[in-house]
Amino acid sequence: MSSKGNTGPVVGQRTFGGYLLSLLAWLVGLLFFFPVFYMALSGFKTEADANADPSLIFDPTMEQFNKVTADKPGLLDAAEAFANSAWIVAISTILCMALAIPAAYALSIKPIGKWKDVLFFFISTKFLPIVAAILPLWLIADYLDLRNTRLLLIILYTAMNLPLAVWMLRSFFAEVPKELIEAAQIDGASLRSQITSVIMPIVAPGIAATALLCVIFAWNEFYLAIQLNTSGASTVPIWVNSAVEFQGQFLAQLSAAATLATLPVVIAGWLAQKRMIRGLAMGAIK
């Protein structure tokens, strides 16, 4: 159907430049992925192989995975660390979203007075480096007898992720077309119906993306955990750290521990991605 003289590419048609860009995207993707791939690979090596010249060919072994997941009396074992992390991450993310969703609504769809100041106040709590706050946090936690408990990290991770969640969700809420809400109001929908039937389906991918980020940040957090929960309710990053030996080879066992530690985040990302894509594909005004 193209008119005579129109030689430009049709949408969806591949050009040489397009192929080049695809190739570049793949190369960059592989470049970013390679260290993760090599880490996973090293987990299947013996210590001798992992410490020798880098190689992709070797006799794979489950030795390191068995070693890091073995039950060690008196020491932090994998099952305990994963259970602690799972509880802390799940609950802190639920709390974070429960607080951030109403806040984001009040800052975008029905903006409260001076909403910009409120938004700035939220993000300003992230200006202080966490290392500067660690001593007061430690003293308060010590005074309240909360050190080495899951509750402490649940509170801290909720607070840590809240500003980010509010900012992210606000931008998703802000994209909800006003016309849709007005149309719902004309149809007599209550506030709750507007939220559950109109707004939520549109911002669901955004909520999934925000929740995923909260999960990732909470799962990977090391500094607060190591300073406050060193000897009890310790999380997965502390367990990974215990695979480092000070005199002796540890690259393979550290790789195995790190690979296991990344698996839940990868799975969470995969699940959230499916949700996000479905949400995006549904669309609102198309």
């Binding site: 802390i88 430690w138 000897s231 215990s242 480092v244 005199q247």
Partner: protein, 496 residues
Amino acid sequence: MKKNQGTERRSMHLLLVSVLALFAIVATACGSTASDAVDSATDAVDEAADAAEDVVDDAVDAVDGEEDAMDDEDAAEDAMEDGEARSITVALVGNDNIEKMAELAPENFTAETGIEVNFTVLDEQTLREVTTREVGAGGDQFDVVQIGMFETPQFGANGWLVGLNDLAAASDTYDIDDLIPAVRNGLSVDGELYSSPFYAESSFVMYRQSFMDEAGITVPDNPTWDEIADIARQIDSDEVAGICLRGKPGWGDLGAAFTTVLNTFGGTWWSANEDGSIGTSQVDQPEFAEALNFYVDLLNDAGEDDAANSSFNECKTLFEEGKVAMWYDATVAASLFPAEIQADTSFALAPVKVTDNSGWLWAWTLAIPVSTTDQDAAWQFIDWATNAEYHQLIAETDGWAAVPPGTRQSLYDNPEYQEAAAAFAGRTLDAMLAAPIDNPGTTPRPGLPGVQYVGVPEFQDVGTRCTEQFSAAIGGSVSVEDALEACHAIASEYNG
């Protein structure tokens, strides 16, 4: 309309139940086991009440600190009387020796004493940060901490650690006089021992005998650095590097190896004031430049590949693979080689220049922070893990060669150990005894005794930042002159 109201009410109920369920989940998560949600919700209320009571109690206790301390002691005594399980928490650096200790503790310590031991294993740097903050701030998280020879005298002098002399004297199993003198001195302040060594090391030269035989070279038992450098350059080839030296930044990595060279070249980091405080930076002195030039040139001419990123583990791998002929590092390495490598390895004392001895001295030790709530249990554990009977226990399970070396004379007097560790036991003891802990160089040093470090807290910062410069010089990205100038500026920040 009625139908709508009914739906909304049901939804509100659902919301209420959801919120209650959420609190139940939080409560469950905070406990150590998952129990059913209803019980947890009830428990959560009880716990909240208990927590509130605890907060009030804590506030009262905080007003009367002495009473609090007495309460702790009473609690420990009550626990003993009631037959309740006593437990201690021990912070450690991860390695095979430590994991062995954790493995043996339940059957050999807890079964005997009834004291449960929880181990927290961290990497070296993190352990340092956590224990320094914990011990310094008076936290009661740990009853026993693993610290090094650098921290022990400083923490001891600050009053952060329990002195061990009286506890050792009262023990039937702990022989304090059996400790190797240099190690005991390095862990004491004014004669009071502040931590008990678990294992100790010096430094020496290890070399592959077959490589030397092939080249017709004899390495002296007590070599100079010039001799070692000559041999390294002579034997260096495309396949085999002459020598492996630490080049990775860090006061305990490159900083340790280089400072022993610096000491024996007659240099030092700072001069000392009469009261023992830091004087002025000596990094601009000719001896310092000579030592650093020597170290960098030797690595450039005959060192391992990628020396700027190499430390103990990297050199150990290269040595075992036959990619380096000599290696100057910790004596403990000898006990970690596979048998076939051990058979081909010979040893020489740490090389010297203008001093008589230059080997470093280091020990990993167990100490009791004064904030512990059960000092008696903490000492019982340290006694068990560091006395001569523990050596016997390791020998029974893993053989004499696996016993943590360097702490007790009795180990070196034991004929079975002498036989099992024939390859390195004698040389290790020689190196330990020769380590110049009290007088490592040619000039007085500030702070507490130390060989491969200066015994002042400031050295951690200066040593780490300067070795970043030196490592860059080894890697070739900055000149030795620029590295020295930058380091002099860093060290001068602390001039007294």
